[in-house]
Symmetry: C2
Subunit: 322 residues, 2 copies
DNA sequence: AATCATGTTGCAAACGATTACAGCCTCGAA
DNA sequence: TTCGAGGCTGTAATCGTTTGCAACATGATT
């Protein structure tokens, strides 16, 4: 037996399909008794709306696609989770596409989704121009879409100020890859905050956000004559590698050196010592980006970027210098 | 200016919409020169197919929905990632729904998706009966859908056998919540393997898979007169809590006690000591479940469950007993 | 009694594709 | 010349809704 259609309901209720449709979408425009009859007919047939047909008629899809560079990465899945909590009550489906395996062009196509939330800065702007778009976490050059970001410079300053508050004067900073926007902003915040406290410019070690580059940074630190007593690393992954390598050489954290990371990825809470770090509000970033996209879709979208506050998470890896 | 439709292409190419449609879906049924003309017209107009219309006509959606209990949990996002790598090349969209925020009934609706991949054992079978379904990781009682699983009993036996191989004779096992299928299977595998090696029955401590319950298990361990020298915990999270709490009491892992976990979640590689554990092939579980679903959709679906092999990951938390 | 506003309902045309069926043309065989 | 086969194309119905417009009934107003 085929799935019941709206005409089946109409026939059984003895009304036209137009009336059934109205009873569903704007019940107040249908008389109470007709509505009751229709409801009975719906129950009897087990009728359920065909969304493909409705979407065709409405010229919309009811879906939002989220473009992530790597679905397996917890950083993104937490943002996704935030997005889902907003989209679902709003009646939108969440379509997820991993840019490693999916051609983003496919989702730029308006017949797939009503809007895009992009977490991958490397997606070409031309693909995104066709649909309402919100960018999260990174900004994309040449695209005039609203972004949901954190203030990386201020966040870095917070980290450095924390070290300064503890009494550290010789500071180190391990950066992300050169040229990356995040890298530059965090570096600049680091230098600004140190200067503001009247401290000498922090020693800069170049990294690339990866665990391995954190380990290399540790080797650099070990070789130094005048070792910084407080080190701020631009990612938690690097901080993990850094601490692990130091411990392997008998250095104690935080007794010999205080370490502060960036991101607050889940695992660093469980390290020994627990890592002091800057938490990015990933869930909130997801929520806000979804809300802003809904705003645009609803026609009352605002201009400009949203900057979300970060939080300094104090754990055991930072302490007063010896 | 409106989006070009197939009629626009047809008009410009001087053919009927039927011919344009055929040129797109089965080019060999259209003469080469007509095809060329059509292609020119498509390029000229910038025409792109409207998927809503095609789907309506084809009575399909082109989407698969994945039902996860918690999108922010890396365990699931890695499975999702595997699913995405298979679905995307097959031309399907991946719709993700978090069962905490979305009513699963909504996705049981055939007009949303062509099939379901379920990662949440608590979804009522009635919701799933309407569409082809594959269950991953847990099995759902009362649902005759193929499952993609690991052999939890054998995996637990592998863990225990590893401890036995190292020479441990007094073993402990921290379980998941009672009543859970996984809990029972891992417990039974633990007991069977100990018996097979002629060891006394392992001391059982009840947990619930959470970090906190791992900490509580550590307290229980500390109170014991005759402490097990090797402990197998049914989740890595519990193992983290367990080790952390022991270290806080000056107990050294693995010198004083060997610890083995279950899952190989990302962070445990970076603990000190690195956690020996049983790795679930999460990416593969995702791939296989997606492939099986595509099989069903394609009409040549096979019956029965797929059991994937686990892997013992040796790290630093297990060693020969003192 | 005529007019009008109001509330309900139905008719039929969209939305944008796909495809069964039939028609036309060409060419080779009888 | 006639016929049939095969290749290509067009006509029109269809997928399941939504919605502008018009029609109708009812009761209030003049």
């Amino acid at each position: 037996m085929n799935r019941p259609r709206i005409t089946d309901v109409a026939r059984i209720a003895g009304v036209s399909t137009a009336t059934v449709s109205r009873a569903l979408s704007r019940p107040e425009r249908v008389s109470a008794e007709t509505r009751a009859t229709i409801e009975r007919a719906i129950a009897e047939t087990g009728y359920r709306l065909n969304h493909a047909a409705r979407n065709l008629r409405h010229q919309r899809t009811g879906s939002i696609v989220a473009l992530v560079p790597n679905l397996a990465n917890p950083y993104f899945s937490q943002i996704l989770s935030g997005i889902a909590t907003v989209l679902s009550p709003a009646g939108y489906n969440l379509l997820v596409a991993d840019t490693r395996t999916t051609n983003p062009i496919r989702y730029g196509d308006p017949s797939h989704a009503d809007g895009l939330i992009v977490m991958d800065g490397s997606v070409p702007p031309s693909v995104l121009a066709e649909r309402p778009t919100v960018v999260v976490s990174e900004s994309i050059r040449g695209l005039s879409a609203p972004c949901v970001l954190i203030d990386n410079e201020a966040a870095a300053a917070t980290a450095v100020t924390h070290l300064a508050d503890l009494g550290h004067r010789r500071l180190g900073h391990v950066t992300g890859p050169r040229g990356n926007v995040l890298t530059e902003q965090r570096l600049s915040g680091t230098q600004r905050a140190a200067a503001a406290r009247g401290l000498p410019a922090p020693t800069v070690i170049e990294g690339d956000f990866s665990l391995a580059s954190g380990r290399r940074a540790a080797q650099r630190w070990l070789e130094m004559a005048d070792r910084p007593t407080g080190v701020f690393l631009a990612s938690d992954e690097m901080a993990c590698g850094f601490i692990g390598e130091l411990q392997r050489h008998g250095i104690s954290v935080p007794r010999d050196v205080s370490v502060i990371g960036f991101d607050d990825i889940e695992m660093v809470e469980h390290l020994t010592p627990g890592l002091t770090t800057i938490r990015q509000p990933r869930g909130a970033m997801g929520c806000v980006s979804a809300e802003r996209l809904l705003g645009i879709l609803g026609g009352d979208g605002e201009e400009g970027d949203t900057i979300l506050p970060v939080e300094l998470i104090l754990r055991a890896s930072t302490a007063i210098p010896r």
